[in-house]
Subunit: 422 residues, 2 copies
């Protein structure tokens, strides 16, 4: 069945507004998964997005694929994540048929709800969260700012994708307000304490994992697709003053752990086939477990935009990342670490090679020393209370194909809370 | 009711072996919680240890306290952890009465099972795992080895308890075999790859958290006891060669994430009242949120022992820790980070001021350069395949009180697995 042609043929006969057009970034080519409280319900349901509608997957599977109900009958995607690649492929193929085929569509319409009337929820119960540092341009920019006078990249950087664990329990859904964190920062003669004065964003892409493994069973580079279910956007909020004081010698902790926001839609890896691009040329020979010269291109053409109070201040290109998601996953598990369904890893800040492609205010403003000017003539070194940050992502329209939306992750900064004892 | 006296009076009339004596480290003064598969069962049950027996808590509550069943009817302690301090106190008081009071004891006996016939399970579903670095002696020893020529403690060390997030998904129960991890290490002219040559242990004490909080609500120092449910032992296995190559600039990752072992019994904080000791004098003034000069002593007298193949190679004293668990928790949340029931934080390696009190082979052997000699005349710089490591802990008998057992965490090293692609 040529699904795209079938879709086009049927587009004229459906009720306007219910079925998306061929070019819809969240239409037939995408079909991202999420969790939503549908109108009239009190608990979250697993859904797939079809343009401006969401489809109740449990209800749909009850009719057409009862054998798949167990994977989509909960309040988050975790059972589906654990089911593994064959179920993911099977379910996605089924949804595509339902949406395209006239007989199925009629049965489906009562199960569709307007996205605008649904309340999105955190799509996954996040198990472990790992954040990488995979952009050479970001690592170079940060190295220059934090360690002036030394080579900006540490000697290990081109040999392995550097990463560290973050706090899974403070991962929140897009739209959640972010309370400015309080903490210690460097000071003379003694450190100071108070609300962070350097609250920043990090534009990142996240990868949701499934098909749990056992300890001692590394995931090979070429098998990464069996475990990467899909992609979302991540804002890894960072308090630079807290971070820089605390980070020696064990890395970031409270400068990051107060909140990390993710976008509501998990775009299936299967929807991103045509976004694949080769990563940049490698400057040093890679060890066999990271050598991707013989596998399908591991980079992804995802164009990102960082917006502060409606001003687009940066356009980071994910295609410029030095390390690919498959390399990150191979590295994460090469020591025998197991993964669970619901693990999330993020790319680290995406910064491109050019000015205006930096994925953090730290870089855009050179540590606050060259503030940005917004459209209302106000300036920003770092974020002010009340600022709203939106990160958007999409696979651009290429070779006549429509765009694939990754969605957006949004958050407004709330003032620090004043507390007893501080 | 004087429980101890009541206990003593009854001790003569019970069947030998069923009820522990007054001096049993896991008897009436301790009553630690765990999860076990009881004889004849297939799933884990929440239990309390009474000497050499385990008590099925769900069955006991069904009879005596049906209102508490919801907290102990699952396969791990998490619902109990989330219930909060008032339920913890209530349940513990009830268990003490059941065990001491003659009428209750008769009903209880059918619900007791020999520990030796029960299979212990991971007592908690671990949410977030944070590892601190709270021993001044350990941090000093490590600083001297890793950063010779610079002050061994970083400038932040005495101002805040340094910590970082670890991998919750690879926390395993005592007894689980540990596969030697494989990974990159420094090499000239290029890094090398292979099984770690510097596999080490870290003797630590862990703290299990409950009573979840919301983001933006730090836990005050004086409220730490409302959230620290209990204590266990932790072996934070470490591959020093992998760790030292990867750790700049974002801290440890694969050098730690392959496995962390915990002991099966969670000793209630309420059982440790008489173990409290004042921490060492502070060398710098602490910020108000960490200032514990006006609260109950925050240190704990827990004597630890590190054993390799039956040789006790070190006796680290937990009382020597610079930072207390309450300070660690206040710091962990001062930025507004929330906690969940089932979070675990560990103290970091416990090392005392004297030779023979170091909590890692890194320190005991000065980075492998001064190997230990074991009783079979073999030597160890780091661990060899087949080595069995046991960490034990107990509150020593003090002022006529019997000891309180913390238990043991045990693990044997398995050879690295040989894999395709590496």
């Amino acid at each position: 069945v040529d699904l795209v042609r079938a879709w086009t043929e049927h587009i004229g006969v459906t009720r306007p507004g219910v079925w998306p057009g061929e070019a819809d970034p969240f239409g037939i080519h995408n079909l991202p998964y999420g969790a939503a409280i549908l109108p009239g319900r009190s608990a979250a349901t697993v859904v797939v997005r079809v343009g401006a509608q969401v489809l109740d997957l449990n209800a749909a599977c009850s009719i057409f694929r009862p054998d798949l109900c167990d994977f989509v009958s909960g309040t988050d995607l975790n059972p589906l994540l654990d089911a593994g690649r064959s179920v993911w492929t099977d379910l996605r193929a089924s949804v595509r048929v339902w949406v395209v085929d006239e007989r199925h569509r009629r049965s489906l319409e009562p199960l569709l709800r307007p996205l605008a009337e649904s309340r999105m929820c955190l799509p996954i119960a996040v198990c472990d969260y790992v954040d990488f540092y995979a952009s050479e341009h970001h690592a170079t920019n940060v190295g220059r700012l934090f360690r002036p006078g030394t080579p900006p990249l540490t000697p290990n950087w081109k040999h392995l994708p550097i990463g560290y664990h973050g706090r899974a329990g403070t991962i929140v859904l897009s739209g959640t307000e972010i309370i400015r964190p309080t903490g210690q920062r460097q000071g003379e003669p003694v450190p100071e304490f108070g609300p962070s004065q350097c609250l920043d964003v990090e534009v990142e892409v996240g990868f949701v994992l499934g098909a749990r493994t056992k300890m001692g069973e590394p995931i090979l580079l070429e098998d990464a697709g069996d475990h990467i279910f899909g992609v979302c956007l991540v804002n890894d909020w960072s308090a630079r003053d807290i971070q820089s004081w605390e980070s020696r010698p064990l890395g970031p902790f409270l400068g990051k752990s107060f909140a990390t926001s993710i976008s509501p839609w998990i775009v299936p890896l299967d929807a991103l086939g045509r976004a694949r691009v080769a990563p940049p040329p490698r400057d040093v020979a890679l060890m066999p477990y990271l050598d991707d010269s013989a596998v399908e291109p591991g980079g992804f053409r995802i164009d990102l935009a960082l917006e502060i109070n409606g001003n687009v201040v940066s356009r980071p290109p994910f295609a410029s990342m030095y390390w690919t998601p498959a390399q990150m996953l191979a590295h994460l598990t090469v020591n025998g670490a197991s993964i669970r369904a619901g693990d999330l890893f993020a790319s680290g800040t995406v910064s491109g090679p050019r000015q205006g492609e930096e994925g953090s205010l730290l870089e855009l403003t050179r540590g606050g020393s060259r503030p940005l000017t917004l459209s209302d003539d106000s300036t920003r070194g770092y974020l002010l209370d009340g600022d709203e940050v939106v990160i958007r992502g999409e696979v651009p329209p290429l070779d006549g194909n429509p765009p694939i939306g990754i969605g957006e992750v949004r958050g407004r900064v709330r003032p620090a809370e004043v507390r007893r004892g501080s």
